[in-house]
């Protein structure tokens, strides 16, 4: 697993994906930080963090698009699958490489905290809560993206499908928002959709609520999709 992780980290930087990802992430989050905190003059980070959801949503597919699709296209998967390692080693090596890059990116928050420190008091509890919320959100989305990357040989298809998938997850909540007080069927749909909602769970954190069930939800999503990815690789071998 470590070998795959190291190679993948190296590939992020040699292929330039890491630089694009970090640059865009920091630029856009910087804009949110300026608008939400500096310009408004309050040391309140909640609006900044709720906007961060969109960065995560749009940038995760960039991170995951080529992780497995390119292996298949260049037939390098042949080297991995015939090496004395398990499929979990391959999937988790790649998963943690992407997650590491994501953590590097979102750690920019501590720079912002440093700046806020000059303007007023930093509410460390909220800040750290949000930091981890974002981490878990990213962890779940990366697993989704990795899974989709395992389904195709085409990077672009992988990126677009991941983006659409994550976007649909996001939109599904507003779609069913008015179903809360409808008849039984509508209520069941609402219940089902909102129980797998990502956005409202994340927003909860930005309001300063650290909800353990949501953390468990994100982590189990990540695990589930990594499991699916392993199954996809396994199935390809058996087909």
């Amino acid at each position: 697993m470590l070998a795959i992780y190291r190679r993948e980290m190296g590939a992020f930087f040699t292929s330039g994906v890491a630089y694009v990802f970090l640059a865009v992430f920091w630029l856009v989050s910087g804009i949110f930080f300026y608008n939400g905190v500096i310009a408004s003059g309050f040391a309140d980070t909640s609006s900044m963090f709720s906007s961060m959801f969109y960065i995560v949503m749009f940038l995760i597919p960039v991170l995951t698009m080529k992780l497995l699709s390119e292996e298949k296209k260049n037939k390098t998967d042949q080297g991995l699958l015939t090496a004395p390692i398990s499929l979990w080693d391959i999937v988790l090596g790649k998963y943690f490489a992407a997650l590491t890059l994501f953590i590097i990116a979102e750690s920019i928050i501590f720079v912002y905290a440093f700046i806020i420190n000059y303007l007023g008091d930093v509410v460390w509890q909220t800040l750290l809560g949000n930091y981890f919320a974002m981490l878990f959100l990213g962890a779940a989305f990366i697993a989704v993206g990795l899974f989709i990357s395992s389904l195709t040989e085409n990077q672009m298809a992988s990126a677009v499908v991941s983006l659409v998938a994550i976007f649909v997850i996001y939109l599904s909540e507003s779609l069913v928002a008015d179903m809360e007080n409808g008849n039984l069927v509508k209520r069941v749909i609402f219940k089902a959709v909102s129980s797998i909602a990502f956005y409202s769970r994340y927003i909860e954190f930005t309001k300063g609520v650290f909800s353990l069930p949501s953390v468990v939800f994100f982590i189990s999503t990540a695990f589930l999709f990594n499991f699916f990815t392993v199954k996809v690789l396994e199935k390809r071998r058996w087909s």
């Binding site: 037939k75 090496a83 071998r237």
Partner: protein, 376 residues
Amino acid sequence: MIEVRNLTKRYGDKLAVNDISFKVEKGEILGFLGPNGAGKSTTMNMLTGYISSTSGDVLIDGVNILDDPKKAKANIGYLPEIPPLYVDMTVEAYLGFVYDMKKCKLPRKAHLKDVCSLCKIEDVRGRIIKNLSKGYRQRVGLAQALINNPPVLILDEPTVGLDPNQIIEIRSLIKKLGKKHTVILSSHILPEIQAVCDRIIIINRGMVAADGTADEIAKNITNEHKMTLRIEGPTHTADDKRLIAEKIRAMDGVKYVRADMEREKGIYDYDIETDGKTDIRRALNKLCADNGWNILMLQLSDLTLEDIFLKITMDEGLSKSDDKGGKSKPRIEIKTTASGKLRAVQEDDEEEESSIVDSGDEDTAADSAENNGGEE
């Protein structure tokens, strides 16, 4: 070292590999031969655990590749048809990655250096794989397979894209490796297989069509003997040709005679096939002396690997009739003697006319193949 039992792979309706069984002993170099799409690569992919088999077992050193893949794969070095190279890494970094991935315990620096010098890629270690030529990439692929000194090496067309010098180098390298490792290599370059391999398995339409050394296969596939004669007749016309062919045909033990091209003015070549039991050379000499003809050339032509390959793979009817025949395979066992005639041989007999008509072309092709082999 490697044991394959009734290996079968089905893609939907298509039977890619059909009930292949063979054994490879330690230190043996086995050549896999077959036309495109015969199932060579599919078989190799199953041997290395890249894809699973529909049925049948692969045992590497007694370990089933599907039961304990980690342990079995640790014993294999695999060079696929397209080397699995990460093109944006340097050779050094890539080999380091493979070293880590295989959890190699050998001293890192020394081992990587050994492998590089073995494959002659020391001078490109710092370069990015993307910028390397096909030949170098192939050698990096081979180096990758050699890391951790696996006892079994499986090489899928290892010399593709190399120049003649490199081909000879790689061949001698494989021969050298064959002393310590068990090697399976596939190729469709016949002289190469002949030069390197101890044993040959010919695969056609997903089935083992022949198994043994080149000589053994040749002996089994056919027991006829071929020779080419150049005889000068008295009149230097086509009448000579007819008369000479007729007389030779009337000889004992001659199965087939064909007058070939006019090689020198008024002098023809004759392709003769005997039953393999009688040596007709003396009788021929006498015949010519009695008739006042001059023998200008007599050349015995045994079946080359190329002849065998063409005979096995071009016989369309062979595998078709065997499909109908159910269980019996078109297999030519080494052990079976000429007297216990095999299916393939019988088929050959039936289609004798057609297969012999183009034998003239085969001979010239075989000649050129021999010349290639002589390069070494």
